[in-house]
């Protein structure tokens, strides 16, 4: 067990290094590189730029620059926002909670509905329900999230008037109910793709579990079918669910960015797009690195959780 944890931990460190290299390459692809924020300033002369490059150490070998950049990243010095002069980390910090709220509620919806569809599809294999769920999942994976959001706004906000068309709360209200009211549509829209993924996973996992010996034993003992399903089958599928949740983090973040844009939700995705619009590269780079680190740490936590729960790994 400690050996597994150590190995897994080292893997994450290596991954972080690779991710930082990719990030550094992207930073240097931006026209003007790290000096991009001064590109729009008409008062900057070539001499000024040369002096700045000298001051910021941009004349040094690229490897030295990389280590310097990575070292500052490690120390929490992610630069300052070009737009408002605040530190990048504090800007990101202001938007993290809104995104986490959206991602969390949407994952809860996706797991709830996806699990139900998956189990029902497996127990009623080759039924009309199963067939519809299979085709439905493939179509759901093909619908652009933002378009689904637009259709949702058109139907539920503009035509029916049941749900707000955007924002996180009504100005002047801000009660819990008001937040929930605003949360419904974006989290359902973001959940659609993941409902499809979870239902496919649960269908396969349930079919696998049903054919296992211990399920036959339970049935032979006279355990009710419902209890067999709930306890043995779902229990068997639970562990890989944790891993799958970790694996889906990047696609969840991608969906969140698009959903936040359509619903003017004040999270990291919107911040990313706004910062791109303002050429606020320090924040763009910060978010790029932050999202990758979030993915790596999320996957690490998922794997550790599985290792702690699963006796096959825990006792190894």
């Amino acid at each position: 067990m400690p050996a597994f944890l150590l190995k897994r931990f080292m893997q994450s460190i290596v991954l972080l290094v690779i991710v930082s290299i990719i990030g550094f390459v992207v930073l240097n692809l931006i026209p003007g590189g790290p000096l991009a924020q001064y590109a729009l300033d008409p008062g900057m002369t070539e001499a000024d730029k040369a002096r700045l490059a000298e001051q910021l150490g941009l004349n040094r070998p690229i490897l030295v620059q990389y280590f310097d950049w990575a070292w500052r990243l490690l120390q929490g010095d992610w630069g300052t926002s070009f737009r408002d002069g605040n530190s990048v980390l504090s800007v990101i910090g202001r938007h993290v909670l809104a995104t986490f709220l959206l991602m969390g509620s949407s994952t809860a919806i996706a797991i709830g509905i996806g699990t139900w569809i998956g189990i029902r599809g497996a127990t009623h294999r080759y039924s009309i329900f199963d067939y519809a769920a299979t085709v439905g999942a493939m179509v759901a994976l093909s619908i652009p999230t933002f378009w689904f959001g637009l259709i949702g706004i058109y139907v539920f906000a503009l035509r029916l008037g049941w749900l707000p068309a955007g924002n996180m709360y009504t100005i002047g209200d801000g009660s819990v109910l008001d937040y929930l009211h605003h949360l419904i549509m974006p989290s359902v829209v973001l959940a659609l793709v993941h409902i499809a993924i979870w239902s496919r996973y649960m269908r396969t996992a349930t079919l696998d579990a049903i054919s296992q010996e211990f399920v036959k034993t339970a049935r032979a003992k006279g355990v009710t079918e419902r209890r067999v399903l709930m306890k043995h089958v779902v229990g068997c599928a639970l562990l890989p669910m944790i891993t799958l949740a970790g694996v889906q983090l990047p696609s969840l973040l991608t969906g969140a960015l698009v959903t936040e844009t359509v619903f003017t939700w004040p999270g990291m995705g919107r911040l990313f797009l706004d910062s791109l619009g303002y050429s606020d590269y320090p924040v763009v780079m910060g978010l790029l690195m932050f999202s990758a680190i979030l993915t790596i740490v999320g996957n690490l936590i998922a794997d550790i959780a599985v290792a702690l729960i699963d006796p096959r790994i825990r006792l190894a």
Binding site: L15, V26, L29, P144, W147, L158, L276
Partner: protein, 292 residues
């Protein structure tokens, strides 16, 4: 007797089991039909319709679909939506197709070399794959699109840069299991070069999973193009793409909902058709891989 031997060893490729199994997959056939029709419409359609995709008619702004002379209505500048949709289809399908070709080439190369060479080469390549997979695709795509010139060619390259990893993983795993087989050992004993064994002996055996992955990658690439063009960082107007036709649609959602509905339907049909075909191919080649 003759019938039996004919079914056992097909004389033509269309008699093979893979083709038979694919043809019995109804959804895949539907997908194939849809893609065929869509491609035909996008290639031929603009010549048949009486309008140019860039022709601005300010007297006919916001015409609703199925009214007047415009089959699918017009956009805020009075441009014909039907012809724009088909022209956009050309761009979106081309970007999707070539992004797939590029990412399959890169993924195949990385997978074959990594899987065959093994050792530190493989470690470096596969950890790079993991690194790219750690970024949410759209964040990396947008950062690159904003940094580089957003020409259609560059958009295609950028989409490929963020889409080659799955193929690399699939091919690497297949090659790693194939390289211990007798025919590879025989090749080595014959003194064939590493490149010959990798690309002429092993690679043909991995074509099934690669073809499946290629189909699903087209679907993914069309979606990604739609995402970044919708957000304003992909294909730039006046060149239409399905994504950028939706770019300004949100502000007219109340007065002209068809501007948002029509291109989205086109995207969904194209992407789900490729997904259906991919699913059929997966069954036909008997590829057990759910990483897509």
């Amino acid at each position: 007797m003759t019938a039996l031997s004919a079914s056992q060893s097909p004389t033509h490729w269309w008699q093979s089991r893979v083709v038979k199994r694919f043809l019995s997959h109804r959804l895949a056939l539907l997908g194939l039909l849809m893609i065929g029709l869509l491609t035909l419409a996008c290639v031929v359609g603009p010549y048949l319709l009486p309008y140019d995709s860039l022709f601005i008619d300010l007297r006919a702004r916001f015409a609703a679909p199925f009214t007047g002379d415009h089959y699918l209505g017009t956009d805020p500048l009075g441009r014909d939506l039907a012809v724009r949709l088909l022209m956009a289809g050309r761009i979106s399908l081309l970007v999707g197709f070539f992004a797939m070709v590029l990412s399959i080439l890169v993924g195949m190369l990385v997978g074959v070399v990594g899987g065959y060479r093994g050792g530190w080469v493989n470690t470096v390549l596969m950890r790079t794959v993991d690194g790219f997979l750690s970024f949410p695709t759209i964040f990396l795509l947008l950062a690159l699109a904003a940094a580089l010139q957003p020409s259609p060619v560059m958009i295609t390259v950028i989409i490929a840069v963020t889409s080659w990893m799955e193929v690399a993983r699939i091919v690497e795993a297949e090659v790693r299991s194939l390289k211990e087989r007798e025919f590879v050992l025989a090749g080595r004993m014959l003194g064939l070069s590493g490149a010959h064994i990798m690309f002429r002996e092993i690679l043909p055996n991995v074509m099934g999973p690669i073809i499946v992955a290629a189909t699903l990658t087209v679907a993914r690439a069309i979606l990604l193009e739609a995402y970044i063009s919708f957000l304003g960082f992909g294909i730039q107007p006046p060149l239409p793409s399905w994504g950028n036709m939706l770019n300004g649609a949100q502000q007219y959602l109340d007065s002209a909902p068809w501007l948002a509905i029509i291109p989205g339907v086109a995207i969904t049909i194209a992407v789900s058709s490729f997904n259906f075909i991919g699913d059929g191919l997966r069954d036909a080649f008997d590829v057990r891989n759910d990483s897509f």
